[in-house]
C-alpha cells in the first residue's frame, strides 16, 4: 500500500472512529488535513479527542509519523505522504 498513508487509531480514539485504521490515498498533505480526511473515511467522529476548538493539538494527545512525534516536527503542519504511517493516540496514562 505504498500509494496510501496508513492511519491507525488507538485507545479511546479507536472507539470513536469505529475502526482500528484507515488508508488515505494522497500525494502529500499536512497532518491536520490528513486528520480531517481520516475522520471522513472512518465514519466515526473523533477529531474533538485530538484538537481543541481553535484547531490546536490538545495536551496529552500523541501523533506519530513513522514513530516520530509531530510535536518535535511542524506539529499539525507536518507534511505526510504516500507510504507514511501515522499513529493517533488520545490522552492516556498508566504506570
Amino acid at each position: 500500500m505504498a500509494e496510501t498513508i496508513q492511519v491507525k487509531f488507538y485507545g479511546l480514539l479507536r472507539r470513536r472512529a469505529g475502526r482500528a485504521s484507515v488508508e488515505i490515498a494522497a500525494e502529500g498533505l499536512t497532518v491536520l488535513d490528513l486528520l480531517r480526511r481520516a475522520e471522513e473515511a472512518a465514519g466515526g467522529r473523533f477529531l474533538d479527542e485530538l484538537l481543541d476548538p481553535g484547531q490546536g493539538l490538545l495536551a496529552g494527545t500523541i501523533i506519530l509519523v513513522n514513530g516520530d512525534n509531530v510535536r518535535l516536527k511542524e506539529g499539525l503542519a507536518t507534511r505526510v505522504g504516500a507510504g507514511d504511517r501515522v499513529d493517533l493516540f488520545s490522552p492516556a496514562g498508566g504506570g
Binding site: 495536551a59 514513530g67 516520530d68 488520545s90 492516556a92
Partner: protein, 589 residues
C-alpha cells in the same frame, strides 16, 4: 490530633512484647507518614544495615496523614531493607487495607523478631492480638484472606503472604484485599522469615479532620478535577493501564525478549484495547477511588484481577509471548502464590536468554506460553528450575556466568520501558533508591505522554533536575499516602491543600518539596551505608552498547554519565553519590 491517629506500636514477635513509639509532632511534620516516616523510623532503628532475614530486622507497616480521608487514600506502605536488593525499600499497595488499618487506631506498626510458630496479627480498635496461624501456613493468599475473614468477620481487611513468602522467595509480595499487591522488593519474604502469615485490620476510629467545611469543598473540587482530566476521568477507567502497550510499542521502546528489541509484533493482541474487548469483566477500584484502573477479568477456566500494564509486558513481550490467556493466568498465579509479577516475568526472560546463549540448561525458550503458570508455581515452592528463578535475575545471571544479561538496577528488575527510548527515564531507573523501578520518578509522563509538558525523549539537557523534582514529589505522595495516579490530575499545590485541610498544619508547596528531598536523601544515606555508590547508579551494559535496528528508538543508546554528574550536583551529593555535609545540614539530617 488531626490527620494522624498519633499511635505507632512496636511489636516483638519473638516475645510478644509491645511498646508505643513516641514520634512527636516535629518528626511527623518533617516526614509525614507512609514511606517517609517509615524510612525515618527504620533508619533510626538500624543505623547500620542488618540482614533482611535476621530476627532483629524490622518490617514497618505505615499509613499516612491522608489515609482514610480524601480520594485514593486506602493505600499503605511497607518499609524495610529489601532481601532482593539490599537497599532501603518501601513497597506500596492499594485496596482498602491502609484505611482499615488506620480505622483500627494506628498510624503504623513496627514488627520485629520472629514468632516461634506461624502467627497472624489481628489489629482491632487499637489492640493487637497475636493469633495462631498454623492452619493457614501453606495456603495461598486468597484462601488465607477468606479463612481470616471467617474468623474475624468480613469487614476485616487482610494483607497476607502466600507460599512464596513462606519460602522466602526474594521477590515475594504481600497481597491484600484479594488481589492488591505490595509487589516490589520482597517484603513478603521478610514476613515469611518472621513466621508472620498475615495482618488483619478492622475498626471504626474516625480520622479527625481539621477543617470539615474545607474538606467537603475540596472533596467536590477533587471529584471535578479527576473527572475532567482525560487520563483519570476516561482513559484509565475504560482501558486500564494496559492502554500503554500500543503507545510504548509505537515509540519503539516496548522491551521485547529481554530488551533485545523495542518493537513487539504481537503487541496489539495484548493491549488494553484487546483486554477491554475480550477478557474484561468489569473495572475495579480501590477505597474511595473514582478512577478505577483495576481490571477484573475472566479466562475460559479462571477469573481474577489483572493483568495491568507491567504484567502484560513481563509475561508477554518480554518473553515473546502473545497469548493473552497465558499472560493473565500467570498473573493470577502470582496473585495467589504471592509473587511480584515484574521480577517474576523479567527473571524468566533473563533465563530464556541464558538458555538461548547456552549459559544455562534450564530448558526455557522464547514464546513458551504453555509453561508460564508452572514456572510461577515452581518458583513459589523453589522446585526444579524454580529454585533458580527464585533468585531473581541478578543472582540467576551471575550464577550462570553472564551477569550482564540481567535487566536490573541494584538487583531490582527494570519494568516495561526500554531506557534507550527515553533518556530521563534512564536516569530515573539508574538513580532510584530501590533499584530498577518506574515509580520513583515517572519520566514517561513528560517524555512520552506529554504530561504535564511534552519533552523530547532523546535529549539529556535538563533531565537531571526534572528527575530529582519528580522523585521528590513522588516521595511526598507516597508519604501522605495517596495513589500516584492522582498526579495525572493534580499537582503539588493540591497535595499541600489536602494536607492542610486534613491536618490543620500550614503545609506549603516549598516545604513539601523540601520534605520530598529530605526523604529521598535519607534513603540515599541508608543505601550509602549499605555499600551502594556511584557504580550502582548504572544500567546494564546492553543499554549503552547495543542499538535497536528497527522502530523509532533505533540507533539510540543511553547517555548516562553526563546526566549523572548533573544529577549529583542538583542533589547536593558528591561525585560518588554521597550527600554533602551542607546538603545534610540544609535538610536537617
Amino acid at each position: 490530633m488531626n490527620g494522624w491517629m498519633g499511635k505507632i506500636v512496636k511489636l516483638d514477635l519473638g516475645t510478644g512484647a509491645r511498646e508505643t513509639v513516641e514520634v512527636g509532632d516535629a518528626l511527623r511534620r518533617r516526614y509525614l507518614g507512609g514511606r517517609g516516616l517509615g524510612v525515618r523510623l527504620y533508619c533510626d532503628l538500624f543505623p547500620r544495615p542488618v540482614d533482611p532475614f535476621a530476627d532483629e530486622n524490622a518490617l514497618i507497616f505505615m499509613t499516612g496523614p491522608l489515609t482514610g480521608t480524601l480520594m485514593t487514600s486506602g493505600r499503605y506502605q511497607i518499609v524495610s531493607r529489601s532481601p532482593l536488593t539490599g537497599t532501603i525499600c518501601d513497597s506500596s499497595s492499594g485496596g482498602a487495607f491502609g484505611a482499615a488499618f488506620k480505622a483500627a487506631g494506628l498510624d503504623g506498626l513496627i514488627v520485629t523478631g520472629r514468632a516461634p510458630a506461624p502467627v497472624y496479627l489481628a489489629v482491632r480498635d487499637g489492640a493487637i492480638e497475636i493469633r495462631d496461624a498454623a492452619g493457614l501456613w501453606g495456603l495461598d493468599t486468597q484462601r488465607t484472606q477468606k479463612a481470616i475473614q471467617a474468623d474475624l468477620g468480613a469487614k476485616a481487611s487482610v494483607a497476607s503472604i502466600g507460599p512464596a513468602g513462606e519460602n522466602r522467595v526474594l521477590f515475594a509480595a504481600v497481597m491484600n484485599d484479594k488481589d492488591r499487591a505490595a509487589g516490589r522488593g520482597g517484603m513478603g519474604a521478610i514476613m515469611g522469615a518472621k513466621n508472620l502469615k498475615a495482618i488483619a485490620a478492622a475498626g471504626s476510629a474516625p480520622v479527625a479532620i481539621a477543617d470539615p467545611a474545607g474538606y467537603k469543598d475540596l472533596s467536590s473540587r477533587l471529584d471535578r478535577m479527576v473527572d475532567k482530566n482525560p487520563v483519570t476521568g476516561k482513559s484509565l477507567q475504560v482501558l486500564g493501564t494496559s492502554v500503554l502497550v500500543n503507545i510504548i510499542n509505537a515509540h519503539g521502546m516496548f522491551p521485547t525478549e529481554n530488551f533485545r528489541r523495542g518493537v513487539f509484533n504481537d503487541a496489539e493482541g495484548t493491549s488494553g484495547e484487546k483486554i477491554a474487548e475480550s477478557i474484561l469483566q468489569r473495572q475495579s477500584a480501590c477505597y474511595k477511588c473514582p478512577i478505577g484502573c483495576g481490571r477484573t477479568t475472566k479466562t475460559k477456566d479462571r477469573s481474577g484481577e489483572g493483568p495491568e500494564y507491567e504484567t502484560v509486558w513481563a509475561f508477554g513481550a518480554h518473553l515473546g509471548v502473545s497469548d493473552l490467556t497465558a499472560i493473565t493466568e500467570a498473573n493470577y498465579a502470582c496473585n495467589e502464590l504471592g509473587l511480584d509479577t515484574i521480577t517474576m516475568g523479567s527473571t524468566i526472560g533473563c533465563g530464556m536468554e541464558l538458555c538461548e546463549v547456552g549459559a544455562w540448561d534450564g530448558g526455557l525458550r522464547w514464546g513458551d506460553a504453555g509453561k508460564l503458570r508452572d514456572l510461577v508455581t515452581e518458583t513459589a515452592y523453589k522446585r526444579g528450575i524454580g529454585a533458580d528463578l527464585a533468585l531473581g535475575s541478578k543472582r540467576l545471571a551471575a550464577k550462570h556466568g553472564r551477569p550482564e544479561l540481567a535487566m536490573q538496577v541494584k538487583g531490582l528488575e527494570i519494568p516495561a520501558y526500554d531506557p534507550r527510548g527515553a533518556q530521563g527515564m534512564a536516569l530515573s531507573f539508574a538513580t532510584s533508591n530501590r533499584g530498577g523501578c518506574h515509580m520513583r520518578a515517572y519520566l514517561i509522563a513528560p517524555e512520552i505522554l506529554g504530561h504535564p509538558v511534552f519533552l523530547d525523549r532523546f535529549t539529556t539537557a535538563g533531565k537531571a533536575e526534572l528527575v530529582a523534582l519528580f522523585q521528590d514529589v513522588s516521595a511526598v505522595v507516597d508519604s501522605s499516602v495517596l495513589c500516584r495516579f492522582l498526579q495525572f490530575a493534580v499537582g503539588i499545590s493540591t497535595f499541600a491543600e489536602m494536607l492542610r485541610t486534613v491536618t490543620g498544619l500550614d503545609f506549603g508547596d516549598e516545604e513539601l518539596m523540601t520534605t520530598g528531598r529530605r526523604i529521598y536523601t535519607l534513603e540515599r544515606l541508608f543505601n550509602n551505608r549499605a555499600g551502594f555508590g556511584r557504580g550502582d547508579d548504572s544500567l546494564p551494559p546492553r543499554f549503552s552498547t547495543e542499538e535497536f535496528q528497527t522502530g523509532s528508538s533505533r540507533h539510540r543508546r543511553v547517555r548516562l554519565d553526563g546526566m549523572l554528574d548533573e544529577y549529583y550536583s542538583v542533589r547536593g551529593w558528591d561525585g560518588e553519590g554521597r550527600p554533602l555535609p551542607r546538603t545534610l545540614a540544609e535538610l536537617g539530617l
